[in-house]
């Protein structure tokens, strides 16, 4: 009989081999299976060179310590993606970064900032991303994210050339004589962030979210008016990062909704159309993305009503039906 209290050789052998065995079962075999049995989704594409460079910056700046990229299969994560993340989603982004670097840990373990799984869908505007990277507090006042000013160059306005991408930063944040130019790293990082979208699963049934509560509907709707969800919360999530919480927007980047003729107009069709299909008619402002895929009719109606009745605005509210009509009208334009 082996006496482990007296025989150091057997003790060492046992602890080495039992641990190795358990590790193989719990880490090496599952990891190997995950790596070899997972294929990319047909709709997803490999990262472009620029996106790949952006991912490298994303990793070297340690963005993963505050931002996750995983939509868990629980109800509260539904706002970060249409479906829970699946292993195939990570096929391209989790390749080895370089000879010296491992596959990037993009899943993350803490959500100090928002999840970025589908930030490309949520926020497709280059201008917003660049401003936000230069100093997050320009666009989101309460943000605690660091500014990444070293991804930008500060130039005298007279020295700016035609090819430079100039940021629309207000005087509050930079001296009038200077212009802020985005460096290539910043542009790459933005193109990586914009590439973050959930690929379609087509016919394959997507995994479902586990509901947080059996009383889910009543919990959320109780805060809204009538049968609509809470427009204020939706506005904060979807709109406030550009149009700001006070509805005043940012001069030179995002237009004000407070007292806006479009918002106050009795005929609400144009406003609903802009929300659903996006808008790029005014060169002095950044592009407004389309929200038809992200928001339901009820949600669009709730947001519209919030905008029509807040910050001193006092216009007639609309119903879910109104949105439905506009959506159907838009479908006839682009069948």
């Amino acid at each position: 009989m082996i006496n482990l209290h007296k025989d150091h050789k057997s003790l060492l052998t046992i602890i080495v081999f039992v641990f190795l065995g358990l590790s193989t079962l719990i880490a090496i075999i599952p990891a190997y299976n995950m790596q070899t049995k997972v294929t990319p989704l047909s709709k997803s594409t490999a990262l472009t060179q620029s996106e790949r460079n952006g991912l490298k910056t994303y990793i070297s700046e340690g963005c993963v310590s505050c931002h996750t990229q995983q939509v868990r299969n629980i109800a509260m994560d539904n706002k970060w993606g249409d479906r829970p993340s699946i292993p195939s989603d990570y096929y391209y982004s989790k390749q080895r970064l370089s000879f010296f670097q491992q596959s990037p840990s993009v899943l993350g373990s803490e959500r100090t900032g928002p999840d970025l799984t589908s930030v490309g869908t949520r926020q497709p505007s280059d201008d917003w991303h660049l401003l936000h990277l230069y100093n997050p507090r320009i666009v989101v006042k309460e943000s605690v994210m660091p500014g990444y000013s070293w991804l930008f160059e500060k130039k005298k306005k007279s020295a700016v050339s035609e090819n430079d991408i100039v940021l629309n930063v207000s005087k509050e944040f930079v001296n009038d004589k200077y212009a802020i130019i985005a460096k290539q790293e910043a542009l790459d990082l933005v193109s990586y962030l914009k590439s973050l979208k959930q690929a379609d699963l087509y016919a394959v049934p997507s995994p479902e979210f586990i509901p947080a509560s059996t009383k889910k509907e009543t919990v959320i709707i109780s805060k809204g008016t009538g049968n609509l969800p809470n427009g204020e919360q939706l506005y904060m999530d979807k709109c406030a990062s550009c149009h700001q919480l006070n509805g005043e927007g940012l001069g030179g980047a995002f237009p004000s909704l407070k007292g806006s003729p479009i918002v106050l107009d009795k005929n609400h069709d144009l406003m609903i159309q802009i929300i659903l299909a996006g808008y790029d008619a005014r060169s002095e402002y950044a592009v407004m993305p389309a929200f038809s895929d992200q928001l339901s009719d009820a949600e669009v109606a709730a947001i519209t009503n919030h905008e029509k009745t807040s910050w001193g605005n006092n216009a007639q509210t609309i119903s879910e039906e109104d949105v439905k009509k506009v959506r159907e009208y838009l479908k006839t334009l682009n069948p």
């Binding site: 150091h8 719990i26 990891a31 790596q35 340690g62 596959s103 660091p146």
Partner: protein
Amino acid sequence: MKKHFIIIISFLLFNSSSIIAQTEEINTDNWTSNPGIIGTIILGVILLAIFSLITVIKTKKALRTYHKINRLKNITSIEEDLLSLEIQEISQIIENRKKTEKVSLNEIEKNLAKPYTEQLINICSRLNHQNIEQILEERHKVLSYSLQQNELGSDKSPNDSKGMITYVNNDLGNPIYDDKRSKKIKLETDQELVKIVITYIGASAFWLFFGTLIGQYLGMKFVWPEMDSVSWLSFGRLRPVHTNTVFWGWASLAMIGLGYFVISRTSNQKIYSTKLAWRSFWLINATLVIGNICLMAGVNNGGGEYREYIWPVMLLFAIGLITTTINYYKTIASRTVKEIYISNWYILGACVWTIILSIIGYLPFTGLGETITQGYYMHQGVGMWFMTFTLGLVYYFLPSSLNKPIYSYSLGALAFWTQMLFYTLIGTHHFVFSPLPWWLQTVAIVFSGGMFIPVLAGTSNFLLTMKGSFKSIADSYVLPFLLVGVIFYFLGSMQGSFQAFRFTNYVWHFTDFNVAHSHLTMYGIISFLLWGCIYALLPNLTGYEPKQLNVGLHFWLAFIGLIIYTFSLMIGGTEKGLSWIEGEAFINSVKLMAPYWLWRAVGGSLMFISHIIFAINIYHIYKKWDANKIEKQ
């Protein structure tokens, strides 16, 4: 063994009921009645209760001492002075007091006369004081008493010829801290080993200072995000500098240094090679310097927690660790006692397991394969390296500080084997609800529950060893650290197991609650236990002690700081999770954290100050030891 078998079986039964619970639908309707939440709240309440109890006792004691000192200040000096008077003088006072009017001390002090004795007689004759009659009577009796020379049956005068009395204290003490028993027993130790241990501990104290300086700076960035705009100091780059420095710099160096002493002492053998010990010392320090510079320059391994150093840098650490392991093993192999003491099991286990897991952690998996190894590596890094090693050290330092054997040797062995079997399997509990395989998550959750066995075995073993010696704990400046460490071992680990359950994950995962948990464990358990071990060992090695006031300050600042730090983040983290479940806008969860982040920074500052004091204490001992060494030569 039969008893332990029954314990295991009952735990497995207990766990199987929780497995069934795990597969039920998750529901937040009655989240406050969830067993995981209730368990955690109970643990929190226990922690606060223990903390308040200790604080109340201490404050009460301090106040009492303070009052006593004030009350006794005047009369004490008179009582003492009375001792110097002759019997005739006492008689004179008694006589005087019958005639004169009594007044207060202040009154008398206005017109003092000389010489001293006359003055005293004058004072005592007129002083209005409640006990003075009695004191004078007694003193008179004492002075007029004379022995018949045969009361004790001997004419010998008292004499402490055997040196039974080692410490005579005429000081009343002070209200802030107790006078702790001095540790003057110097162990005969090889001078080269002493040098190794002191150097490892000195370096670890430096890295603790540096690592928590960074941590404190990061904590302040949550309150003032625009403190700087230098790329090398940005949050994303500095965060891994903080974690890696306190991991590989502070805790690892301190553990390895203490490990050299424990292994050599319990094997009754000189360490195998001092040259190898120095070599691994420099390798580990080089890893930290190069690794931190890389991280600040934006070069990291891919963002996986605790393996942010790129592999060429971590290779230096691995070589240092392998060198250490060989050195430990050869020393144990050449021991002059038959038995391998339980501490050596833990230390040897920690070393070989960590070598294996570092290699697996750096294997080039891609896709979610990397995520599986990340969960495995990050959890084992804490559980197999820091926890296992530190427990090994406690199995030596706790009994040796109490001067009695460990309560149960077999409970120690049970905890060792269950630690290996269960801890290894629970890494994926960092990725509950993630796209990783559901079965892997379930295994991790179930064995997180299984971790109750080694934790309860370890805690009860330590507490039962302390049982009956609580007076020694109050008398010692070392044991409070160990006691707090053991309490946190119980609370922090149990809380960790609760947090792995699916429901608790639902509320707490991704929130600041995780940060609170990692500080409860890495700081509350590992750091407190290591400080206890260091304060226990250094005086024994060098013959010099740190200033007791400083040790007390270190203890209290660290303890209070940690309580503020963890509770603010646990409460804030819960509010954050509930805000997410409610479906509120994300920015709300950032705004609601603001006061909690401020409190975290306050707690962090206290912790950081305590580390400065710790470094001063180590330096204080080192300087005396170094000066003495030069004298000897």
